[in-house]
Structure formats: C-alpha cells, structure tokens
C-alpha cells in the first residue's frame, strides 16, 4: 500500500510539474506579442518606450484548486503486479485527456450525454443524482438515479467507456454517506431531479458543500435493513420510521471490535520495524 501511494505521489508531483511547465509556456506566449509590437514601435523616428508586458498569471487560478483524487485511481489491496495498475492508469489518463471527467461525489447531480445508435440525434442525455461510485481502474462506474414520469430509473455508467461524450456536474455537493442506495426506499421527492435543471455555479476553491439532509423513508419493508450498523447510514430519519426498540434490536448486529482491528487497513510495511 505504501508503495502504491508513493508511486501515486510521484505521479501527482510529475503531473503537477508538467502542468506548471505548460502554464509557464502560456505565460510566455501571452507576453511575446506585446514585446513584438513594442519592437515595431521602436523603429519609428520618435522613440516610444515599449509598453509593459501584460503578465497573465494563470498559475494563481489553477494552482489553488481543490486537490481531488478520483477513487478509481487508488488500486485495491491485492496480490496483483503493480505494473498492471500502472498500465491501466496510463490508459485512464489517455482517456481523460480527451474527455473531461469532472470532480464529483456521491450525492452530486450530474448530466451525462452518451452515444446511442438507436436514439434520434444519435445521443441521449440523462440527468440524475449519483448514488454510488464503484469499481477500480478502467472499469470504474457510477450510478445515476432519477424519477421520470413516476418511474424510478437508475443507470450505471462506466467512466471510461468511449460511448460517453460529456459528463457535466450540475450541482456539486457531498452527502452524509458514501452510498445512497437507500434512496430506493425513501420518498420519491428525494430522488427527483429536474432534467432541465440549470447548472448551479460552484467555486473551484474551498470546501465542497455537505448536504446534511436526513431523508424520510417509505414504510417498511425496505429493500435492505438500512438501520443495521454494517451500513452505517447517517442520512436517514430513523426516528420517523422505527421505534427505539427496533433501533436497539438492530444494534445486535454491531461489530464494535472492528474499529480496533489493526490488520484490516493496516500498512503492513511498517510492521516489524
């Protein structure tokens, strides 16, 4: 795991260096026409001092962005050769050069335009709230949910599929959980997203807003027993749908020793030193 993160860090650093190089070049480009124009002026009989070059400092706006590492870049803990992950990462970056995959979290509202040979105009657009981000590497997916004509629709998109033409984030926000599958058992108002929604402007800097909404559920039975501690859901209003006795009964499935389990996510390279 340490080896992976080290490689990732080196990777991030090298990318940042490349980006800085790129931006420095842009800066020089913006200054050169002014200097050239100034050169022409100095040839005329009356000496006019060259105008001050306009430095468009693009490093400021770009460098102060949020540092976001997409979760599919983190390789899982397996006995695979790191070479496989590095080759896969190269392919992922080549794809990202063509298609801009923006930063988004579970709970953000996205619009995806996908190529479809059977649709009129060859593309179709789907707007929905992201309820899950799964998979690692090239097979990374995200599930968008929306309710259209009183019918709940969930579409699972692959981030690196060549059929996806555009992903835009209409509203960037986080929720209290990593997995919003419980929206299937929540009241439909929490899953409806207006397809003609205007993108909500969000600042490229600063914290991502966390929507601390607590969702009201339909009456039980639910598709999964969301009150059980293994799901660890913060975003449901259990007090409206469950009695305190039921909540206590659900705690029987708690595994409090897991948080003290040292091997679960341990960095094994440090053991023995």
């Amino acid at each position: 795991m340490a080896a992976c993160t080290k490689r990732l860090d080196r990777f991030i650093i090298s990318l940042r260096l490349l980006r800085n190089l790129q931006l420095q070049n842009e800066r020089f480009l913006s200054t050169s026409p002014c200097l050239r124009a100034a050169g022409n002026d100095s040839e005329s009989p009356k000496f006019v001092p060259p105008s001050k070059p306009v430095i468009v400092d693009k490093t400021q706006t770009v460098a102060s962005l949020r540092k976001f590492l997409s979760p599919e870049f983190i390789p899982p803990r397996q006995r695979t050769d790191p070479l496989k992950f590095s080759i896969e990462r190269k392919d992922m970056i080549r794809r990202r050069k063509v298609l801009n995959i923006p930063e988004f979290y579970v709970g953000s509202i996205l619009a995806v335009i996908m190529a479809d040979p059977n649709a009129s105009g060859k593309t179709n657009r789907f707007v929905g709230i992201c309820i899950q981000r799964g998979g690692k590497g090239l097979g990374a997916t995200f599930v968008l949910r929306n309710i259209i004509n009183n019918q709940g629709v969930e579409i699972c998109y692959e981030l690196y599929s060549p059929r996806i033409q555009k992903i835009e984030v209409l509203k960037l926000e986080k929720r209290l959980d990593d997995n919003l599958m419980y929206l299937r058992d929540a009241l439909p108002e929490y899953s409806t997203v207006d397809p003609e929604m205007k993108p909500v402007p969000f600042s490229p800097t600063g914290e991502v807003p966390v929507n601390k909404i607590k969702v009201r559920m339909r009456p039980k039975p639910w598709s999964k027993r969301w009150e059980r501690p293994k799901f660890n859901i913060q975003g449901i209003r259990f007090d409206l749908s469950l009695t305190p006795e039921q909540m206590e009964h659900a705690q029987k499935w708690a595994q409090p020793w897991l948080e003290y389990d040292m091997l679960k996510d341990a960095d094994l390279s440090k053991i023995g030193r």
Partner: protein
Amino acid sequence: MAAWSCRFLLLRGTRVIPPRAPAERPALLVGCIRTVKTTTWFEENLTEDNQEYMRKSMAEEYRRQTAEKLNPLKDEPWPRHEWTEGSRRVGLVAMKLGMVPVWTKTGERHVVTMLQVQDCHVIKYLSKEEYDGHSAALVVGGKNVSPFHRSEKQMEIFRNAGVPPKQKVTAFKVSDSAIIKPGTPLYAAHFRPGQYVDVTGKSIGKGFQGVMKRWGFKGQPATHGQTKTHRRPGASGPGGDPAKVFKGKKMPGQMGNTYITAYGLKIWRVNTKYNVLYVNGSVPGHKNCLLKVRDTVLPNRRSTLLNPPFPTYFTEEDGDLDEDLNHGNCRSDDVTRGSPSRERGRNGGEKKTMKQKQGRSEAGMLEN
C-alpha cells in the same frame, strides 16, 4: 540442489509447528529430522559476506547474459524460412497480470486478460527423433529465478543455452522450418492483434471437492424428510443389467490444480513496450501465474494467421513497432458518435502523448 526430504516427528501430545525464527531456511527443519544429508543449500557453508557476494554476482551475470542475448543474430543465427500453410511456430511463456475491460469502435465492451511476456528465451532444440518421432520441439523458458534452488542437472541445460534459470520450462511442437537457435529471446510482438491463441495453465486448486461443486450435480432438497442427504451424488448407475459402475463415473475428488487449455482466444491488443498481450476472456490460473501461449489449433480460426512473424519477432530486424498495436478496438482517445465511422491510424507512442500539452486537465487528480 535437490529438494531435501525430511521426516516430521509426531510425538503423542505434541504439535508440529515449526517456530517462527528470523532465518527462514533453518526454521523449516527445526520441527523435523533431515534425512537427506547429501546435498546442501548454497548458504549452508558460506559466510554472510559470501552469501551477499554470490547473490549479487549471479544477478550481474544474468543481466549481462540477457543483454548479450538481445542480439541473437550476432553469432551465426540459424537459417530462417518463409511461412507456409501447414507450418507451426513456437509459442511463448507469459505471466497472467489481471483483467481489464476493452471497448470496440462500435461501443461493445469486452473483458480481456493481460498476459506479460517476461524474459522468455528458447532453451533447447529437440529434433524429431529426440522428442516423439513425429515433430520437432523447442523448449522455451519463462520468468527468471535464482539459480540457488535449482539442481545441477537443470542448471546445466540453462548454462548450455547461456540463459538465466527459468521458473517454467515447456516444450512446443514446432515444424522444421520454424526452429530457432537456443538463447533467442521471444517477445510479445510474436503475436499480432486479431490473431487467435490457445492458453494453457494450471487452474486454481480447490482441493478435494464434492460432487456438487466439482461436476455441478443438483444434490437433494434441503427439507421434506431428507435424512442426512443434501449434497450426495445419489445413484451411481443403471442397475442390474451392467451390474457395475462405469469407468469415468463422476464422483468426488481432486478439483483444480490441473493443466487446462482455453482455446480460440482473440488477441485485442499488444503492448510492445511492456511486452503485454491483451487476450479475450478469462484464462486458467491465478494472478501472476505462468502460462503457455501458442497459436490456435482450431481450424476455423487459423485463417487470421496469414503472414505472422515467422519463426518469431526479432527486435533488430523488424524494427520498432508502435508501442500499442490494436485490432478494431477503441484506444481510449476515440469517442464513438453512435456510428462505427472513425478510422484512426496507429498510435504514435506513449512519449508523444505525455508531452502533448493540452489545455484540459491531464489527470483526474487535479481538477478544474
């Protein structure tokens, strides 16, 4: 060094658990008696400095050997023939890395296994008479391993070829026009995208398994009065007429850990920089296991094998191929517009794309 045998002491009441000592080598023998005292392991009679020196010197030597062998044409290569209809060429030994998805230009998604060809060398040539009387064979070896745990007999074969000792050594049946000089390295570009291959490997061992897992029997119901019979095979044959159980009756037994061949797998992509083959579907074996890859024997898939690199792909002669050879699949920079129209040329190479400065974000790491 042959594998040393030992007898485990099982005294009444004691458990044989070798204590975990810092040195791994002696620990294996603490809990048992060493019965073979003829051979030694290389570290037994050497001091620590000498052990270090041995390891380093061997590694240096093998690096030198592989560097030398990169140009087999330097010292009298064997004559090369042209490919004819019925000729069979050599295969490779590859390591299974893992599986990834791959998309075609029409938007269909397929899953492929990545096989990396690591240090593949031809080790020996066996003529028709030596091998089986029908066809000649070429012995090919896979991944490099340390020489310290190989017997002298094995090391002699590797030394004759001038090649570091290999983990997997297999024979490929080859026609006489396709023989290659021992010591030649083999690369992934030996196979081309669009070709079909057979991959042989040892499947993952599941141990002694019952009839439901091993053969897919349905078993018996869980309830309704079944007495102690839920996963049993049931009847074992017809009855009084044969009055016997036929040979080959499916019964519980060892499952897995046997050599299985997957036939007719298409090659989607070849990465010549890392020597990786992208092979359709799944392949027997666990991750990082060594497999035998050869051209298909299936008659309906042999037509794609026109003009392969024969007898194999030599780096000096055939020049630099593009780093990524594709066959009808989208490289990640293609975007389908709902119709299979885009025809792009071969990719220029990793170095070019990384240096291209584009205004967009270069990675998912730093986002706008």
